[in-house]
């Protein structure tokens, strides 16, 4: 398929805002509808928009496959580590060990914010990896 200038320019303008909205969904997952899974998919959709509308080489240099794989694996490692820290600090796997705040701001919500960030990174990297491989961008 031929990539036109309109596609190129519009995807470059649109993708940062899509990605920003994804990070907003992830960061506000404990306050408003959204969360790690939904925000991660929105982040991945920004990368897929770039992938579909531009040449494959420019996207895979910005988001290399090895970095995505490492992010996918490291996020699961961080999730399990948070669970083990909860086991050591509070007596049960994945139990709350950070002090709970009022729960009305983004950073003030114990470890749910951490888990949402981790899941957002993991889902974003995973869906992007799947689409890279299905669309054969590598």
């Amino acid at each position: 398929m031929r990539k036109t200038d309109i596609l190129d320019v519009m995807s470059r303008k649109l993708a940062p805002f899509v990605m920003l909205f994804g990070f907003y969904l992830v960061a506000n997952g404990h306050l408003s509808p959204g969360g790690g899974f939904q925000g991660g998919v929105v982040i991945a959709s920004a990368v897929i928009l770039l992938l579909l509308a531009q040449e494959a080489g420019s996207v895979t240099t910005s988001f290399p496959l090895t970095a995505l794989s490492v992010a996918e694996s490291a996020a699961l490692f961080v999730f399990i580590s948070v669970g083990i820290v909860g086991l050591l600090a509070a007596g049960a796997f994945l139990s709350v060990f950070l002090p709970l705040g009022s729960g009305t701001t983004v950073l003030d919500s114990g470890f749910i914010f951490v888990l949402n960030l981790v899941i957002g990174v993991k889902v974003g990297a995973g869906i992007t990896l799947i689409c890279f491989h299905i669309l054969e961008a590598h």
């Binding site: 997952g29 404990h30 306050l31 408003s32 509808p33 969360g35 790690g36 899974f37 996918e72 694996s73 996020a75 699961l76 999730f79 399990i80 669970g83 796997f93 994945l94 709350v96 709970l100 705040g101 729960g103 009305t104 003030d108 919500s109 114990g110 749910i112 888990l115 949402n116 899941i119 993991k122 889902v123 995973g126 990896l129 799947i130 491989h133 299905i134 054969e136 590598h138």
Partner: protein, 106 residues
Amino acid sequence: MTVRNRHGSVWKKVVASSLLLFLVAATGVLFLDAYRAAPASNPEARTEKRYIVDNAKRETGAENLVTSIYLGYRAFDTLGETIVLLMAVAGVVRLASAGSGVRKKP
């Protein structure tokens, strides 16, 4: 002949669409009925809901009750879901790159 055929296929489509619409509507009505009847017939569900609404924000620190369930009370289940996603990604990577030089041995 062709006109009658096209006419007949249109009627078939109309009948099929209305049947599908009826099925969807009937399923919706049934589920709505079950959803309305559930709290009255199941007092435990009502107390669980009341407990979560009252205590979830204090116990997990999340104002969004859905998040307080899937990352607070049921975080272990979410860990399983992320592992499922990891397995799916691994399978897609393996299958999609199967023909591109991974298998070198004859």
